[in-house]
């Protein structure tokens, strides 16, 4: 993944955070297509069979199949340059798993932020829920909106890495979505849905997420227009 994770944790033993960090490092080693001897790299080169891979690899592979189905093929980690690449889901999966580890070890609340894909549980304060600011995709130094109380928040877009999202059907980059944010109960799926919505374009993305129970989408088009699904709520940032 080669990315930055930040962890905010309330209560629980310090060792739990260390264990969550160790897990994230291991996930990077296992899943990074940029690490030559990662499991994913070896699978991409056809050197090993999926069946021989450790449980987390097989689990993520299964989630990719599920995401392919739920997104009607818009999220397709098999149709990418170089072969199978679960990057569009694995960061969310890893952050979510790290949060689960913290919860299981007794933390009262935590937020794990994998470079903008966020999993949280509990409350940071008895008075309020976790609050996540959404970047303005035309001015990332600005927070455009704030969402509150969602266990999972994932954003995908074309504005920070250039055109890194590929349309499965054509193999060409998607350009019509500037950024897509998906909120819901599970981060691995929110991550995949956000990736899929950014690839699908505004209209198809809206239709896709509207059909998935418990998940909501906010999408910003390259024209600057915002659209959101029926259950999406946010407040404008101050």
């Amino acid at each position: 993944m080669g990315t930055v994770f930040s962890i905010t944790v309330m209560g629980g033993p310090d060792l739990a955070t260390a264990a969550a960090c160790a897990f994230l490092h291991q996930a990077d080693q296992d899943f990074s297509p940029w690490i030559q001897d990662s499991w994913i790299s070896r699978i991409r080169r056809g050197e090993v069979d999926l069946a021989a891979a450790p449980a987390p690899i097989r689990e993520v592979h299964g989630l990719c199949l599920e995401a392919l189905r739920v997104t009607d093929g818009w999220f397709d980690p098999w149709r990418l340059p170089g072969g199978f690449d679960p990057t569009g889901l694995v960061k969310g999966w890893a952050a979510e798993r790290a949060a689960e580890m913290l919860r299981d070890s007794g933390a009262a609340a935590a937020m794990v932020n994998g470079a903008g894909d966020i999993a949280c549980f509990g409350r940071p304060d008895p008075e309020r829920d976790w609050r996540v600011g959404l970047e303005d995709p035309f001015d990332p130094s600005r927070i455009a909106m704030v969402v509150e109380g969602w266990p999972a928040v994932a954003t995908s877009g074309t504005y920070q890495r250039g055109l890194h999202l590929i349309r499965p059907a054509s193999g060409r980059p998607a350009v019509s979505v500037r950024a897509a944010t998906v909120v819901g109960p599970r981060l691995w799926l929110a991550d995949a849905l956000a990736t899929a919505a950014a690839v699908a374009g505004v209209g198809a993305g809206m239709e896709m997420v509207e059909a998935v129970d418990g998940y909501e989408l906010l999408v910003v088009g390259e024209d600057g227009r915002r659209s959101w699904t029926s259950g999406f709520t946010a407040e404008a940032a101050a």
């Binding site: 994770f5 903008g116 940071p124 309020r128 609050r131 130094s141 101050a238």
Partner: protein, 173 residues
């Protein structure tokens, strides 16, 4: 007690580290503690020594804007001059070389600026030009009151955080 930790995903160079931000009860001041080490991935990281004091009830992390404020912050670190700067080590990463300067004022990060930013190719330079301000803003926003995190399309440089880490170490945080 609120702990804020930035944990690096391993980079090509295998850098790792943890930053802990401790809010003092009373809420307005954010002290910073760098507890990471630049060891490689594996087991070593964390176990923040300061974390042991984590008994007090979580204060509302409703700090106001990032600089200047801080009515009742002095409950910690009084000896420090109010504004200090330190530069991190140069960190090599996949796309070039990056060195950061961190400014800490009254126990808070008030600015993070690149000092050396030599990307290896034009595309990387372009990415850095976008990513560095974004990461700085995230570091600053994470300390601001009314949000706990920022969601945005991701490009992240672990080298940024590693250099930030070492800058904080030099500040004795």
């Amino acid at each position: 007690m609120r702990r804020y930790q930035i944990v690096l995903g391993a980079t090509a160079a295998g850098l790792a580290g943890v930053l802990s931000y401790h809010t003092v009860s009373g809420g307005t001041g954010v002290t910073l503690q760098a507890t990471g080490n630049a060891s490689s991935a594996g087991s070593s990281s964390t176990s923040a020594p300061a974390g042991s004091s984590s008994t007090t009830a979580a204060p509302t992390p409703t700090t106001a804007g990032s600089s200047g404020t801080s009515a009742n912050a002095p409950s910690t670190t009084t000896t420090a001059p109010s504004v200090r700067r330190a530069q991190g080590t140069e960190e090599e990463y996949r796309y070039g070389l990056l060195e950061l300067q961190v400014t800490v004022s009254s126990g808070k990060i008030t600015d993070v600026q690149p000092v050396v930013d030599e990307a290896t190719d034009p595309r990387s330079a372009e990415i850095n030009a976008q990513a560095i301000p974004m990461l700085r803003d995230q570091a600053l926003q994470a300390q601001s009151a009314n949000i706990d995190g920022v969601s945005g399309a991701s490009y992240t440089s672990a080298a940024f955080e590693a250099s930030l880490q070492s800058a904080l170490n030099k500040l004795g945080r």
